[in-house]
């Protein structure tokens, strides 16, 4: 038994994701089979809707439809044509810039959020998440208006006599800013748990023992927050690799990303061979990033600690020495009082303003009397909202989105819930591998998943059905739901079950009378998170949809291609409102649990 996890660990290191999946298979086999059984449905789902389609994609990338079987011609073509090499390079560099900026800006915000009270933190988080709630399309068109040569920013720059106000758009810089705008909230959310879980007592103990502020930060806080923050940065990088809407609308002539190229090949040229090769390249780039991050930061925590504690600790030690020698380059926020203590707060508030301001500019545009989008709008009509409510197409799209969202939420809560239920009680390396398996959908950009699933669903004539979109969304929701539910099950007191059993409760009674009532708020939160993920998802709907009924984001996309009217903003405002309400429901559910539940 002891050799098994060791081997699994080695496999994970050697071959990355696939190795981990293999490890998880072994995990299921090796452990008590009965207790691992609930993992199976979710695991099978991952295999059918992610692994097999991806294998199929890899197959079509090395299988020339015209020529004779096996060939790497598509990859050769990608590297032979300078333009494509350029796109690859641009994609990597834009994704890296986004990662550095999102992680760099997100880190102080996460530090600051971790020091806040639960209630204040939730409010701040709500503002930070705001860009997430707006339709990706409306957001991009808002940039076009706000940064246009007659827009408010250009006007301000003219007023201040700063040149260049008429050329803010369509360049690399604005593309990266617009991408960071979306990725920053994600980065903050993802790294926050790593920050809130750092024990404050540890820091005060260090202070008591006379550690300097620089040492406390660099030698204690930073190393402890490093792994989670690195994971968040990795997530940002992986997401940035698959972007295609923002660069299409805001990038300049040279700013073409791989995602756009995939759309061009598949949608326009029907070149599945080359399109698949591009998708494989994205996955490979992501895989390399995962492997590097894991090698450096030991993401899964599966490796035994050696000697001084590994590379990341060495890095923070070096940083500590550097910062001490730099004298005043000391983050002072870990101590109370003093102007430095306000710095992260100020920093965070300016980031929050950066995130919220464009949205505050968007909302009034839904009430404009002008026939097109302008800023500032001439307010005073509900016309656009009425038009939305009266249009059967929009309403049908809204209901489709709701249906698909509910289906995806139900399915992902069941699949991830069962898995989280059994993994929460396991520990050690095998459990970590199980967790990793359920995180795999996060490692593949949605555009690649959508492309891969397209051929799967096409084989079963399921393209353009609600079920296809629903199943695709379920896959995207699973990691999100799994994370929430795993935390819930981990904080559940399993002795309650034993106590109930001792008192003569049957298994079903324990389930319905004890476990489910206590865990219910977490289930609600997971379901709402899944619904939100599905409700605003465009990429899958774009590839897999297009049938009788489209989802709301898809309908918005179709509308955007032809005309941008304030109607679109009105719809976006409706979506924002719905999402906000649901978000509040989810938060309430989680708070009540924290207040009333155990742990």
């Amino acid at each position: 038994m002891a050799a098994n996890p060791e081997m699994a660990g080695m496999a994970a290191r050697d071959t990355g994701k696939d190795g981990r999946l293999a490890g998880a298979v072994r995990f299921i086999r090796s452990r008590n089979v009965l207790s691992a059984l609930p993992v199976l449905p979710g695991f099978l789902f991952l295999v059918v809707f992610l692994v097999i389609p991806l294998v199929q994609t890899v197959w079509s990338s090395v299988h020339d439809p015209a020529g004779s079987g096996f060939s790497f011609s598509a990859f050769g073509h990608l590297f032979a044509v300078p333009a494509y090499r350029g796109v690859l390079w641009t994609t990597l560099s834009v994704a890296l810039w986004c990662t550095v900026l999102s992680a760099g800006l997100g880190y102080p915000v996460a530090v600051w959020l971790a020091t806040l009270s639960e209630k204040t933190r939730r409010r701040a988080l709500f503002l930070i998440m705001a860009p997430f709630w707006t339709s990706v399309l409306v957001r991009n068109f808002a940039w076009l208006i706000l940064l246009g040569r007659h827009g408010p920013v250009a006007a301000l720059m003219r007023f201040l006599n700063i040149p260049g106000g008429d050329a803010l758009l369509f360049n690399r810089a604005i593309l990266i800013i617009a991408m960071v705008y979306v990725l920053l909230p994600m980065s903050i959310i993802a790294m926050l748990p790593a920050h809130t879980s750092i024990s404050r007592e540890l820091l005060s103990a260090a202070r008591t023992m006379g550690a300097r502020r620089a040492d406390i930060f660099w030698r204690i806080y930073f190393p402890l927050s490093l792994r989670g923050s690195a994971a968040a940065a990795l997530l940002v990088f992986l997401t940035a690799l698959g972007f295609f809407i923002t660069p299409t609308l805001l990038g300049g002539r040279h700013d073409v990303l791989l995602g756009e190229l995939i759309i061009l090949q598949i949608d326009r040229l029907q070149n599945w061979h080359f399109g698949s090769a591009l998708a494989v390249v994205i996955v490979l780039a992501g895989g390399i990033a995962i492997a590097l991050t894991d090698w450096f930061f030991d993401l899964a925590g599966t490796r035994p600690r050696r000697g001084s504690g590994g590379r990341s600790v060495a890095v923070s030690g070096l940083l500590a020495r550097l910062s001490v020698s730099a004298g005043r380059a000391v983050p002072g926020f870990l101590r109370s009082g003093g102007w430095e203590a306000r710095l992260p707060g100020l920093c965070s508030w300016s980031i929050i303003v950066f995130l919220a301001a464009p949205l505050l500019a968007i909302v009034p545009m839904a009430f404009t009397r002008d026939p097109f989008l302008t800023f500032p709008p001439h307010l005073g009509t509900f016309h656009w909202f009425l038009q939305y409510l009266r249009d059967p197409l929009w309403i049908s799209a809204t209901f489709t989105s709701v249906r698909v969202g509910l289906g995806a939420a139900a399915l992902s809560v069941v699949l991830s819930g069962l898995a989280a239920f059994s993994i929460a009680r396991a520990d050690g390396r095998l459990a970590s591998l199980g967790i990793l398996a359920f995180m795999v959908p996060l490692a593949v950009p949605p555009i690649v998943i959508a492309l891969a699933q397209f051929s799967l669903f096409a084989r079963f004539s399921m393209i353009a059905t609600d079920s296809a979109i629903m199943l695709g969304h379920t896959l995207l929701c699973m990691p999100v739901v799994f994370t929430i539910l795993l935390a819930g099950f981990r904080s559940y007191d399993w002795q309650l079950n034993q106590a109930a059993a001792t008192l003569g409760a049957r298994g079903s009674q324990i389930l319905t009378r004890i476990l489910l009532p206590i865990i219910r708020p977490v289930l609600v939160a997971g379901a709402v998170a899944a619904f939100l993920t599905s409700f605003d998802e465009l990429t899958m709907a774009l590839f897999l949809g297009g049938g009788l009924k489209t989802t709301l984001p898809k309908q918005m996309w179709d509308a955007v291609l032809l005309e941008v009217s304030p109607l679109l903003v009105a719809v976006s405002v409706v979506v924002m409102t719905v999402v906000t309400l649901l978000f509040l429901v989810m938060e309430r559910a989680l708070t009540r649990r924290r207040a009333g539940g155990p742990g």
């Binding site: 076009l144 246009g148 007659h150 609308l249 002539r253 190229l261 004539s461 393209i463 032809l562």
Partner: protein, 359 residues
């Protein structure tokens, strides 16, 4: 590979009209009766969505529902519906009975195989259509132009009136934008280089790219969607641009002070029926219905796309006709976009265009 074929003209108007009025209407009612007898109560039509769909609802869908009792369900298809259409036929899942395709889509699909049901149009159905506006599997009903637009205020003494002038950055300084797609853009580049419109095809791709290279660094914005183009014109983000006629017209009607120049290409949208469609009979009747002059005139009242039926203009006020691409005055400045050429050459030209953009 023909996306259009010359219509045969009947010797006398009288015969043609009586055929249209008599057997045409009877044919429609008969087709509707047959369809209802087979239990067909609705047609599902994939169109481009948004504003054109609203116009089609008023001009075609609703009147058709009233006359035949067959309901019309309109759904928007993807911006490029070729993949969806192919898949639908290959998997035999007929989610659409009719699909709105332009000549380029038709050419690309015909290049790959047999995807269309024949329309069985009679000479009477097509007698009044402009040349090249129908084939045995496709019937055009909506013409748009790829043309030029400029901000009236930016050129008080008058802006460019031809593509060589659009390319002349010295004489007409200003922020330019062009479509980020080789189709039509290469044609404009050739026109700018002095190629006469009737000699455009087959495209001299090298010459087109070298012409485009002269302007490339003067193009501030490469637009990628019709909506973006409209927004650029409406918000005065660019001084001069290429544009699609109905989108430009939308900007003008919304109050944007933009001057349109009827110089460029025209592309036609039309109906196709997927091969093997179980409701092909009534779908054909619908296609014939859309060829009618009165219906096309109604359509052109709601959206500034040109009718393909010349007689439609007799139902339209002269002011309205003036903004339509197929009005004789405008139509003479436009050249037919050769979809067949693009059907054969899209792949490598698109690749070269991407390279050109990234240079």
């Amino acid at each position: 590979m023909t996306s259009g074929r010359m219509g045969q003209t009947f010797p006398t108007l009288l015969t043609r009209r009586s055929v249209l009025a008599g057997s045409g209407a009877c044919g429609l009612m008969a087709a509707a009766r047959r369809a209802r007898a087979e239990g067909v109560s609705a047609l599902t039509i994939a169109d481009v969505g948004a504003e054109p769909s609203a116009a089609m609802r008023r001009a075609f869908y609703e009147p058709f529902e009233k006359e035949t009792g067959i309901r019309v369900i309109a759904v928007p298809h993807a911006a490029d519906p070729v993949t969806q259409f192919r898949l639908m036929v290959e998997t035999r899942s007929y989610i659409w009975d009719l699909c709105m395709l332009n000549t380029e889509h038709v050419a690309r699909l015909q290049h790959d195989g047999r995807y269309f049901e024949p329309l069985h149009l009679t000479p009477a159905d097509t007698a009044d259509l402009l040349p090249g506006m129908f084939s045995d599997v496709w019937l055009g009903f909506s013409v748009y132009a790829v043309m030029m637009a400029w901000q009236t205020a930016s050129f008080p003494k008058g802006g460019p009136s031809s593509w060589p002038e659009f390319w002349d950055v010295g004489r007409f300084p200003g922020r330019r934008s062009l479509c980020r797609s080789p189709a039509a853009t290469l044609e404009l580049a050739l026109l700018a280089d002095g190629v006469p419109p009737d000699r455009l095809y087959p495209l001299d791709v090298d010459r087109a790219f070298s012409s485009l290279a002269r302007l490339r660094d003067h193009v501030a914005i490469w637009w990628s969607s019709g909506a973006q183009n409209t927004l650029l014109l409406e918000s005065d983000e660019v001084d001069l641009s290429d544009t699609w006629s109905s989108r430009a017209q939308a900007a003008v009607s919304a109050g944007a002070p933009v001057t349109l120049v009827w110089n460029g290409l025209y592309v036609t949208d039309g109906w196709c029926i997927p091969t093997g469609c179980p409701r092909a009979g009534i779908a054909r009747a619908f296609v014939r219905y859309c060829a009618r002059a009165d219906r096309q005139a109604e359509y052109a009242r709601h959206i500034a796309n040109g009718p393909t039926n010349r007689r439609a203009f007799s139902y339209l006020a002269p002011e309205r006709a003036a903004v339509l691409p197929t009005a004789p005055e405008n139509f003479k400045g436009l050249t037919k976009f050769d979809a067949a050429w693009w059907g054969e050459n899209t792949g490598w030209v698109a690749e070269r265009f991407e390279e050109f953009m990234l240079e």
